[in-house]
């Protein structure tokens, strides 16, 4: 499982994390030619409650579809950060929203404390594109996927009429990572 790369997007229900995972996995799977499997886990609530979406990327066939040793963890709430950071590999990447996650974990992680939600709200003007801003940052940090592939997958999945908004959100997210 050496070339297996595990991503978990976590936060609260309604933040678009499942869709974020679907877009990332679709970009890898259809446009990068690697294997990707996306799964999700959420409670019975439509909004609020813990939510997570996982993407496993590999050049080989993927057996177990869930994340156990995470390479990249995205947290859009403090609760999800507290809960899931134990599964993050040593030297793994943690992307935490700087507004929501004030208490960053101790440990040997590459931490990116980024203003994801603020960027969506203030620079794009729509808080609901926070998932796409996050995808931009992820595209910057994950070698297995390019910004162009993610953009293609974003445009395929978002509602008509929101293409420019989402493209902008994606690029802003990409640029959040130095």
């Amino acid at each position: 499982m050496s070339n297996r790369y595990e991503v978990r997007l976590s936060g609260a229900g309604g933040q678009g994390l499942v869709l974020g995972g679907v877009i990332l996995a679709e970009a890898v799977s259809l446009y990068e030619g690697n294997n990707a499997v996306q799964t999700q886990s959420y409670g019975p609530e439509a909004r609020g409650g813990a939510s997570k979406s996982e993407v496993i990327i590999s050049t080989e066939e993927i057996d177990y579809p869930k994340a156990t040793q995470i390479d990249l963890l995205l947290c859009l709430t403090q609760e999800s950060c507290d809960k899931y950071v134990v599964d993050l590999k040593e030297d793994g990447i943690l992307i935490a929203d700087s507004r929501m996650v004030k208490d960053l974990p101790e440990g040997n992680y590459r931490i990116y404390n980024l203003p994801i939600i603020d960027t969506a709200k203030e620079k794009v003007g729509k808080v609901f594109v926070a998932n796409i801003v996050a995808l931009g940052a992820i595209a910057h940090l994950v070698d297995a996927v390019s910004l162009a592939s993610v953009e293609k997958a974003v445009l395929k999945r978002v509602p008509p009429g929101t293409e420019e908004l989402n493209k902008k959100a994606l690029k802003l997210g990409y640029d959040l990572v130095e």
Binding site: A25, Q38, T39, P44
Partner: protein, 377 residues
Amino acid sequence: MSGKEVFYQGNEACAEGALYAGCRFFAGYPITPSTEVAEFLARRLPRVGGAFIQMEDEIAAMAAVIGASLVGKKSLTATSGPGYSLKMENLGYACIAEVPCVIVNVMRGGPSTGLPTGPSQSDVMQARWGTHGDHPAIALAPASVQEIFTETVRAFNISERLRTPVSLLTDEIIGHMRERIIIPPEGELEIWDRPRPTVPPEQYKPYDISEGIIPPMADFGSGYRYHVTGLNHDETGFPTNKPSLVQPEEERLMAKVTENLDILEKHEYTEKEGARIGVVSFGSSARSSRAAIGLAAEAGIKVDFLRLITLWPFPEDAAVQMADKVDTIIVPEMNLGQMIEEVQRSIAGRAEVVGVNRADGEPITPAQILDRIREVA
């Protein structure tokens, strides 16, 4: 395989497979984690001249599916545990009236409403024995999104050819999981249709078995009139309680399965030379099992693997083949021990059998299975 490449969820692949198989009718009642099957077909069925109905509950949905099948349409319903329980009465009706139909059960935790969004494999025995009376039971359990597509097609094919309901058992993990799949071009997968009468309406007897154990089935509304009942009946379809007619009919229903094992049984046996341990699993737990067997190989432990694709009828010969070779068989399943009993029954003491069980709404991890492999190694 040539075809159209898509990134699909398991439930979407199921719905697409149903359309490929010629399904033109869906009736259901929404329930997590199966609802996407209904959503997909609500959009797509009308475009191919089919019909979608959301019924008032699962009992009515199953009844509508039987009605649609009787007029000649390949019919589907999709549900999860609580709805599967409700469908059992009419599933038995479809068995005795010999009405082809496919029932998808995307398994979640139970009993009752249990864990709506959590995966489970705890309806395995319900798929075999859920409806009362002796009855044929066929259940298929795919383990990937691609396989959900092909097994849905196979479920329809079997159901049509044998005139009996077929259950497709998936679970929340593979039902909601997304993977790249190929939708084969039309004609690449074989499609089977039910046998239809060759005699004119006035000579038609709906349960005439002079030509074989599966009687030809006429479409209601095509000029053939006949009686359909859940009571034991004779060749005309009208009720009978004559012992000399009932016993052979009961036996014939069961023979649909026992005499068609060649088209029903489907499994993968992956053998390692000199292995003393075997794993038997299915559905999403089979993915965890395969990963664990890979990890065991890295640690120098050889493990044979029997992945069940058809759960019912259970492949006794394959289980015995494994039991004759290995000392211990491990059965990982997301329940507190169901399929393990069938393994034990089949192999009749030829090997030790131990389970890896989980019923907390979380998947069985490869590490859990690897621990058990190390314990018995």
